[in-house]
């Protein structure tokens, strides 16, 4: 009897160690070390990626050519197309064949994803279905308890072999969310300072500008670029009165130097809702809105995800 129990305990111990290999930081370090030792390719993501469905930084696609504003479906299709372009041709062909698609066109992918969103009840499940297959998406959805589960919750239900595909699905969702962002100000607002390294007009030296500046008069309504949750509504002497919106899928937008904030942390906002009135607060040389887009790898140029480019100030014009 005791020996039989020892066998059962041994089997259970093996299960525990197997799970620890995949579901603990020491396991991740060991897997990476073993892969390096034996010269194998490691599918282990960075340690910190474990907290967020394996969402990893990824290379941004080429800037979008100016075109009509994208619908949510088209934006998601474009996100999926960008993510699929990072896979090997064989993997790409497999994904397309499984979805019954002939080409890697953003429109076809968008239509397919919209249909899946209607069938499955969420973007997350639809994108998972595209990258991991319908069976995996169904399995994850049923175990996660419904159609409104986040990608993190869905990913937790799947075995480790899907880690790479889940990371691609996360990238597609991130890009799809970013491509669907609206502009926070009227199209007529001029860009007075671009994204990237620039000479700082007040602090001096060359510094990285993590967003773009849009020159507008004090009191102009600032609208939410997409629906989301207010993570921060604060005031300091550098960024002034700022709002940070979390749109999910690793996408957040920041609106700085406002005159008045109309939302509070924890508020849910709709796309286009007025969240602040622009101003000249904080470290600023004139009335403007600092608009910043954050992706998992850090700040990104909002103009890369902008359908119609706003007018720009002549070279040399800057705002902090």
């Amino acid at each position: 009897m005791r020996r039989a129990r020892s066998l059962a305990d041994l089997a259970l111990a093996a299960l525990c160690l197997w799970a620890a290999w995949y579901h603990t930081p020491p396991g991740a370090l060991l897997r990476t070390a073993f892969a390096r030792l034996f010269g194998a390719r490691s599918a282990t993501p960075a340690l910190l990626s474990y907290y967020g469905a394996g969402a990893r930084p990824f290379q941004l696609a080429e800037p979008l050519p100016p075109r009509a504003a994208l619908s949510p479906g088209a934006a998601l299709g474009l996100g999926a197309q960008s993510a699929l372009e990072r896979t090997s041709p064989a993997d790409r062909a497999q994904v397309l064949a499984r979805a019954g698609l002939r080409s890697l066109s953003a429109d076809a992918l968008g239509d397919w994803l919209l249909r899946e969103v209607r069938l499955q009840g969420s973007r997350e499940s639809a994108v998972l279905s595209l990258f991991c297959g319908e069976e995996a998406a169904r399995f994850a959805r049923e175990r996660a308890g419904g159609g409104r589960a986040s990608l993190e919750e869905l990913a937790r239900q799947l075995p480790p072999r899907y880690a790479d595909r889940v990371a691609l699905a996360a990238a597609a969702l991130t890009l799809g969310t970013a491509y669907a962002l609206a502009w926070p100000l009227p199209d007529s607002a001029q860009v007075t300072s671009l994204f990237g390294v620039r000479a700082h007009p007040l602090l001096g030296g060359r510094r990285f500008h993590s967003g773009i500046d849009l020159g507008v008069s004090v009191g102009t309504p600032v609208r939410a670029a997409a629906e989301g949750i207010v993570r921060r509504a604060s005031d300091d002497r550098v960024s002034g009165r700022l709002v940070l919106l979390d749109h999910g899928s690793g996408v957040s937008t920041v609106y700085c130097h406002n005159d008045a904030l109309l939302v509070a942390p924890g508020d849910a906002v709709a796309k286009g809702q007025v969240i602040a009135l622009s101003g000249n607060s904080g470290l600023s040389t004139g009335p403007h809105l600092h608009y910043q887009l954050d992706l998992p790898q850090g700040p990104a140029d909002p103009l890369l995800f902008r359908a119609a480019r706003p007018p720009q100030l002549a070279a040399g014009g800057t705002e902090p």
């Binding site: 129990r5 259970l12 525990c16 799947l158 510094r207």
Partner: protein
Amino acid sequence: MPMPGTAPPAGALDAAARLADRLRWFFLPLALCALVAVGVHTAADVVGELILGMVDAADAAFDGLAARWTLTAPLVDLVGPSQRVFFARGVALLWELVADWLLALPMLGYDERADEVKRFRELAAKAWGRPTTLRVVHPLATGAVALAGSCAVGRLLEGTLHFSLRGAMGSAADALARGCALAAVLGLVGFIAWRAVVHALVRADARSDRIPLRRGRAFTVGLPGALLLLPLALAALRAAPLLSFLR
């Protein structure tokens, strides 16, 4: 007389059982440590929202302070909104490692006794009669994360079996994978997880006995660790979807 072909498997099984019995001292502590570590990771994975909120609040407070002086103003961008997710994940990882240090690593010192049930009853009665922060929080937190770990192991087994057998067995793979996962969860709770709770009780009791008999010390010793473990234990209970194995 036994058939020549059937004797060797029974013998092999017996030999394996004998070997497993001799190696219990080695693999049981490892299993306890691994199960608790998996549970801690599962819990740390679901406290992300809470940590992100804490990081946002801390970032806002830091920016408010740093922006007051010209010299420190550039620091506002150093810990800006872009790094919030990175910091939140870093905090989650740190939290997990500290919880591993407090709960999982001590499991490597597990020494099995023949009268485990009796030992558990005695220690639980002592904890009830002479409660200390250590005697209450550590076993409860260990139980919660071990339960979450059992569910995580069960889900890993279910997913792996489901997708490995689906090609050969069709829809029957679903029922088989589900049954195996449920059996694994029940087995882990019944054979491994409760031993982790017993060992947590043993350690907490030994440490509590060393606390000097001064007023309030029974509750202050181990309080920082308890404050760290309690949210994680609650998250672990949220991350233990026992019913999902029956759906």
